[in-house]
């Protein structure tokens, strides 16, 4: 067994850190889109608009039932074939699309569960004062549901950050792609991948800390 090349590893850190913004950027963009989409899907699943409901169920079932990698390839390689005007699709765009749809499907289910968990009397009180269904959801039900769903949604965000590494298979040089290139140049595979693993790990730990803060704040929610 050879000793680790510590100097190489230390030198690699700043190089890889330069790719953190792209990785986090993809995750943040996907998360923002996914949250909006998931909230819409969840509300639809609760309200159950005929026909649309079947479509939404199919959508959720498909994006939960197939591997993320397959979905990414479908967008990156498949979509341009299907729609000729998209002669080529940018890898980052395809990754954000795939991550958005994939995670929206999962998040929709936890938001739906949180909405259903809101006490019936909250719906009834909203109706009794004459709110429209949209007002009731926006002002009363969704704010309460989002408090309940928040810790789970942070879990999905953490998962999403790690899943951005799959974008390197679409030719995107993000954190993982950059590491792959560095490793191929230096042949120091173990050193390279352990460094990138630690970088992912630290990002996730920071988020988990934030999540714990969030959870303790949630426990005292509305208790003032």
């Amino acid at each position: 067994m050879q000793p680790l090349d510590i100097d190489y590893m230390l030198g690699l850190v700043p190089v890889l850190l330069g790719y953190v913004p792209l990785t986090l950027g993809m995750a943040l963009a996907s998360m923002a889109f996914a949250l909006v989409l998931a909230a819409l899907l969840a509300v639809e699943r609760v309200v159950r608009v005929p026909v649309l409901d079947q479509a939404v169920m199919l959508f959720i079932s498909f994006f939960r039932g197939t591997p993320l990698l397959v979905q990414l390839f479908l967008f990156y390689y498949g979509l341009p074939q299907l729609m000729s005007f998209l002669t080529q699709i940018n890898g980052v765009t395809a990754a954000i699309m795939g991550l958005t749809l994939h995670f929206a499907a999962y998040m929709a289910e936890s938001i739906r569960a949180a909405i259903i968990g809101v006490d019936r009397n909250q719906w009834e009180a909203s109706m009794a004062v004459g709110m429209t269904r949209a007002q009731m959801l926006r002002r009363i039900v969704l704010p309460q549901a989002s408090r309940v769903a928040a810790p789970t949604l942070v879990n999905y965000f953490i998962d999403m950050i790690k899943s951005t590494s799959l974008a390197f298979t679409l030719g995107v040089t993000e954190l993982m792609g950059a590491t792959q290139k560095e490793a191929a140049g230096s042949f120091l595979y173990f050193e390279s991948f352990i460094v990138v693993a630690v970088i992912y790990w630290i990002i996730v730990e920071v988020l988990s800390y934030g999540q714990r803060l969030l959870e303790s704040r949630m426990e005292e929610a509305y208790a003032r």
Binding site: D119, N121, Q122, E124, A125, S126, M127, A128, V129, G130, M131, T132, Q135, R139, I140, P143, Q144, R147, Y222, A223, R224
Partner: protein
């Protein structure tokens, strides 16, 4: 003029409201009494379509809605002319006491925030809860929560206020303060339809008592008549049981 005619509600094959006719004068206080499972809550909930009635007409002020052909707009309009006080308070858990009152004034009645807050503070003062204005429901006692619930209903300036056993979920120590507040609402000549098991309170506040049994109105009249000289055997049996 306010009231219902031919109001019918079924849950499956169970007819819970059987062709109910009830007229209420402006400013009148009507108290509904009757055994458990008789349809008292369902009657109140049918008036504002929390439970969609199967048939009948509901009139509040100048608005009449035919249950069989009620549109979403009709239902909203009806709800905006009524106010509801729930047995379990049903305060908005994500809103402070003050926000519970301003919420509908701003989102439903489209009043300005400043206007709504002024009205909320007025109501909070009347309910004796101004010092709790910024508290969330979870931090209030049952009695305080129900006073906010009544305040939320008062602030709407509704043509008809509906109370569904507003003191039944309360610890005995809080019942008095809630009944006191309802007396004050009554003094303002607010039209009130109240379901309660507080017979002493009913006798004192009501212009008219309605006795319901099995989804029908069995008899009605001034408190002295219903309590002291009931005509129907079912009324007598019920009153004997509740003491």
């Amino acid at each position: 003029m306010t009231g219902v005619s031919g109001l019918t509600k079924r849950f499956g094959t169970n007819t819970v409201l059987d062709n109910i006719d009830l007229e209420i004068e402006d400013g009148e206080r009507v108290v509904i009494i009757g055994p458990s499972g008789t349809g008292k809550s369902t009657l109140l909930r049918a008036i504002n379509f929390l439970d969609h009635p199967d048939a009948g007409t509901i009139t509040v002020g100048d608005l009449s809605v035919d249950a069989a052909r009620a549109s979403r707009r009709n239902i909203l309009a009806l709800r905006r002319r009524t106010a509801f006080v729930f047995q379990n308070y049903a305060l908005f858990a994500n809103k402070t006491a003050r926000e519970n009152i301003t919420e509908a004034l701003v989102t439903v009645q489209k009043r300005s925030r400043a206007d709504a807050e002024a009205r909320a503070d007025e109501v909070l003062r009347e309910t004796g809860l101004l010092d709790k204005a910024d508290s969330y429901p979870a931090a209030l006692s049952g009695g305080q929560q129900q006073r906010v619930g009544i305040g939320r209903a008062m602030a709407l300036d509704a043509d008809l206020m509906l109370f569904d056993e507003p003191t039944s979920a309360l610890d005995p120590e809080w019942v008095g303060e809630v009944l006191d507040l309802m007396r004050r609402v009554a003094e303002q000549r607010q039209t009130m339809l109240i379901v309660t098991h507080e017979m002493q309170f009913a006798r004192e506040i009501a212009d008219r008592i309605v006795f319901m049994d099995g989804g029908r109105i069995v008899e009605q009249g001034p408190p002295s008549q219903i309590f002291d000289a009931p005509h129907d055997k079912r009324t007598r049996d019920f009153l004997r049981r509740v003491g």
